[in-house]
């Protein structure tokens, strides 16, 4: 327990750990929820872009042990296309129909007695492809003569909107200095160690689908799956596995495969299991977007940032898959970042190419957005001869301005950015570091310092995605707003407490924090409380936003837990008050008892009081409902729909992060030595410092990996070159730089406990912090991640940074 007598805030070791450490935790591939399961394998396209002339499944179907075979056309005949938020004439099916549009796209499905036999049969499928010109470069994809992925769209640009806040034209016309940068941001993925997996069962009369999976929804995607399967929501039952082996957003992208398995189960008349293998994951799952972006920043000579222009070109891959185009809109309403700038123009283009469709990945849109803004700040500082810390200090939203309404609509809840910057500089020993840099540069060494700051939007407003529509389109579509959180707390007749969070974590420790929150309200210990984090859409209390993404646990779900726990606590107090013959206000819940305040010997065991609600309804206070089963549903404050000027409060809480990197580059090898990396966070009230630190270090690992090494590479023909873990180089322990963490935590007024969402963290900032340091070291601004040996060596040698 923490010093103040609360479990919240204490470094409580995780409830989840013992089962995980002893091999007793259960994941999707460990499950066999129904008898008679057959195993599915998928034939995937070897071509990036080709017409499917024919698919011959005859030999595969005849293979011993094969139960059934299906082509994309078979699937398309049974279901509708998966709906998209972007209204373009693209019929997206989970298996290719008529054409393949990326190497790795599913073309046929085999169901067999086991996966080995299913994969044997894949080799017996004959597909006649007519290769088409591949479209890999998103810039070239926009050319008039580019081959089209989706002919009916008439262009590879599937979405284009321009936004304007304040008066950017005047800001740029009157600027003393304008900084322009453009770059390619690489495509990478957090590649969770457990791949995607699902078991689907169709039952007729009436039509009903059940899917067990490690999906991290249901989120808005449940509705889209229902649309494709043509059933109402209560006939598509999604059940998540007790544990999920990491996700980082990636497992949101598996819903087309869930639709595919559900449809295949119906067509083949058996429950089907599919566990994605690693090779499938790397070519066929999901990833963050690669982008061709540009930024212009207008400054006054004193360093005041007066205007910003963003030009974003997002390569969405072969299909625009929901929740896209959210990756380019998640940061949109906070386009000013941590700064006071009010004049902002944004131009968003989404382009289809013959690559894997993109989706959520840690930081979702953040790494790309902050690359633009924070590169511009460092480059602007250098252009104006102002220190990189000082230029930020001059532009920060000041501590006394919160809550602060950003020009594009975000409402920043709380912060003290300058204090966090000071803490960063202090931890880095900034003055000494600058002196060291200047000495090193004078001696001809390549030494650089980079700084980056971010606001961290958490707990998404479901409406922000509708920025993809014009105000007129939104008006026609009807209202959208909010981001509901739910929690159910029940006490059974034995008096034991169960918290159901429906928050589908994938390692973030939700069960532990939920137990801390409930323990404080109920006067129990976290060990007294069991937590169920998985979801069953048929039996759980859930809503549109349920699931695990956008740091929504501590920004939304924790408040739902607190609300439910307080309702339960109130009921227990009222029951106890009658037996203790005092008023309910005089009863406190502590140490596993309900007792009279100030008279601790007048007490009743918590369990006995709670059990009475089941055992003795007639003895309850008059008018009280029997049993204890309380569901809290909350819509976080302030999450309204976008207005006619395209302003929207996109999230509930806005944390703050300040990262500083100092690097030295070996000109002979291109190796970057990260001598210093400091990251200071404002997560509001810290609920569990052990878990917060774990999330920060984990996010740092993803950010550093994106900065230095990880990239999903495609060759010019669209062949994925990162199709195994021998080619897609995940960061390992020896490559991890040392990280110094600091905190300046300002409690959020938007949440009951003052917590903000957190978790994306340095995954959003490490790429730009390292890029800024590399730019400083090399004395050039045209630098792009990943900073691999080859690319950095080429930059040092005066080249363009080619790999």
């Amino acid at each position: 327990m923490s010093a103040g007598g609360f479990w919240v805030g204490a470094p409580v070791p995780r409830k989840e750990d013992e089962a995980l450490l002893t091999g007793h935790a259960r994941f999707i591939d460990d499950m066999e929820p129904v008898p008679g399961i057959r195993h599915a394998a998928l034939l995937r396209s070897p071509h990036a872009h080709a017409e499917i002339r024919s698919v011959d499944l005859t030999r595969a179907a005849a293979h011993p042990g094969v139960h059934g075979v299906l082509s994309g056309a078979d699937i398309a005949a049974a279901i509708g296309p998966i709906p998209s938020a972007v209204r373009v004439p693209i019929d997206y099916y989970p298996m290719a129909v008529g054409k393949v549009r990326y190497a790795g796209e599913p073309v046929a499905l085999i169901a067999a007695e086991d996966r080995y036999v299913a994969e044997d049969a894949l080799e017996l499928i004959e597909v006649d492809y007519r290769p088409l010109p591949p479209v890999i470069d998103p810039k070239a994809a926009m050319d008039d003569d580019a081959a089209l992925l989706h002919e009916a769209v008439g262009s590879n640009v599937v979405h284009h909107r321009e936004f304007r806040y304040g008066d950017p034209e005047t800001a740029f016309a009157e600027a003393d200095r304008i900084v322009r940068l453009d770059w390619t941001f690489p495509r990478y993925s957090s590649t969770p160690m457990e791949t995607c997996g699902a078991i689907a069962q169709f039952e007729p009369a009436p039509d009903r689908y059940t899917i067990w999976s490690n999906f991290q929804g249901p989120f808005i995607l449940h509705a889209l799956m229902c649309g494709a399967l043509r059933v109402p929501g209560n006939r598509l039952r999604l059940i998540t596995a007790p544990q999920s082996g990491g996700s980082f957003g990636i497992k949101q992208g598996m819903y087309p495969y869930m639709v595919l398995l559900a449809a295949a189960s119906r067509l083949l008349g058996v429950p089907l299991k599919w566990i994605e293998d690693r090779l499938e994951h790397l070519v066929g799952s999901s990833s963050a977007s690669n982008r061709e972006d540009a930024v212009e920043a207008a400054f006054r000579s004193d360093g005041t940032l007066t205007g910003l222009r963003f030009r974003n070109t997002v390569d969405v891959g072969a299909y625009i898959r929901a929740p896209e185009p959210a990756s380019v809109y998640r940061m949109h309403s906070a386009s000013n970042g941590a700064y006071r700038v009010r004049n902002i123009a944004v131009d968003n283009r989404l382009v289809t190419t013959n690559r894997l469709p993109i989706g959520l990945n840690r930081g979702y849109g953040g790494p790309q957005f902050f690359f633009a803004l924070e590169r511009a700040m460092d480059a602007g500082a250098r252009a104006l001869g102002i220190d990189i810390a000082e230029i930020r200090r001059r532009n920060f939203v000041p501590a006394d301005a919160f809550p602060y309404r950003a020009p594009a609509g975000a409402l920043y809840d709380a912060g003290d950015y300058e204090a966090a910057l000071d803490r960063t500089l202090d931890l880095a020993g900034y003055a000494a570091l600058c002196a060291e840099r200047d000495r090193a540069k004078a001696d001809g060494w390549l030494f650089g310092i980079g700084l980056a700051t971010a606001i961290e939007p958490s707990g998404s407003n479901m409406a922000y995605v509708t920025l993809a529509q014009t105000p007129e389109e939104r008006a026609r579509a009807g209202g959208r707003s909010g981001g509901l959180g739910t929690c159910t707390i029940s006490i059974d007749p034995s008096g034991s407490v169960t918290v159901k969070t429906v928050s589908t974590p994938a390692g973030q420790g939700h069960a532990t924090v939920a137990a801390q929150v409930a323990a404080d309200a109920l006067g129990l210990t976290p060990d007294d409380i069991d937590v169920v984090t998985e979801i069953d859409t048929l039996t759980s209390a859930w809503s549109l936003a349920s699931g695990n993404y956008a740091n929504r646990f501590s920004s939304v779900v924790v408040d739902a837990i607190g609300n439910a726990a307080r309702t339960v606590a109130e009921k227990i107090r009222m029951i106890a008050a009658e037996d203790l013959e005092v008023a309910a206000e005089d009863v406190e819940l502590a140490d596993g008892t309900a007792r009279v305040v100030g008279v601790p010997e007048k007490s009743l065991p918590f369990r006995r009081v709670a059990a009475k609600a089941h055992w003795h309804p007639a003895g309850l206070p008059e008018g009280m409902a029997p049993g204890i089963f309380e569901t809290a549903v909350l819509s976080p404050p302030g999450l309204g729909p976008p207005d006619e000027q395209d302003r929207v409060a996109s999230a509930v809480t806005f944390g703050f992060i300040c990262d500083l990197a100092a690097v030295e580059i070996d000109p002979g090898t291109g190796r970057i030595e990260i001598g210093t990396y400091v990251s200071v966070h404002d997560v509001g009230k810290v609920l569990n410092p052990l878990i917060v630190e774990g999330q920060i270090v984990g996010g740092f690992a993803h950010g550093i990996a994106g900065a230095l090494m990880e990239e999903m590479v495609y060759d010019e023909d669209g062949n994925p070159l990162s199709g195994s873990f021998a080619d897609y180089l995940c960061i390992t322990a020896p490559e991890m730089p040392r990280l110094t963490i600091g905190h300046v935590d300002t409690p959020s007024p938007h949440t009951a406990l003052g917590a903000k969402g957190m978790g994306d963290g340095c995954s959003m900032l490490a790429p730009v912090a390292i890029a800024n340091a590399v730019a400083d070291a090399l004395g050039r601004e045209d630098v792009e991640p990943p900073f691999t040996l080859n690319r950095v060596w080429d930059l040092v040698a005066g080249g363009g940074g080619a790999g």
Partner: protein, 162 residues
Amino acid sequence: MLRIAPGTRHRISVTVNGRPHAGFAEARTLLSDFLRHELKLFGTHVGCEHGVCGACTVNIDGRAVRSCLRFAVQVDGAEIRTVEGLAEGGALSPLQEAFRRRHALQCGFCTAGILISATQFLETSPNPTEAEVRDMLSGHICRCTGYEGMVRAILDVAGETP
């Protein structure tokens, strides 16, 4: 030479965590699949099936081995230790305790293999440096933790070892 026809299943007997187990495997059945789907020992996890990620590491006759790179038929008669066998008598091993204390796991999917490797590592290198610990861990991929907690946990246990 033993010739094994495709589709033929073989009786494989192994000792796992001190207890005899037996099941059937084809010649091509991976040890990881045999352990999980034939012996129902689901504690061993499969992360890549091509020998890079280390999640499926088990101890075979005293050595940490990736079970996705062994066929079940190769281990007939072997002594195997998996994550289920690390907590002897129901109490977490000092390494498991240290992992919990140091928040060395998040999703826990890679943890089984790392515990097996680290347990053997500490038997052969009781007083490792941090660099040696990191080098040992380079045979494993963890996407959640950034490795920091597990480095500290392993060093904690090494420090306690006489």
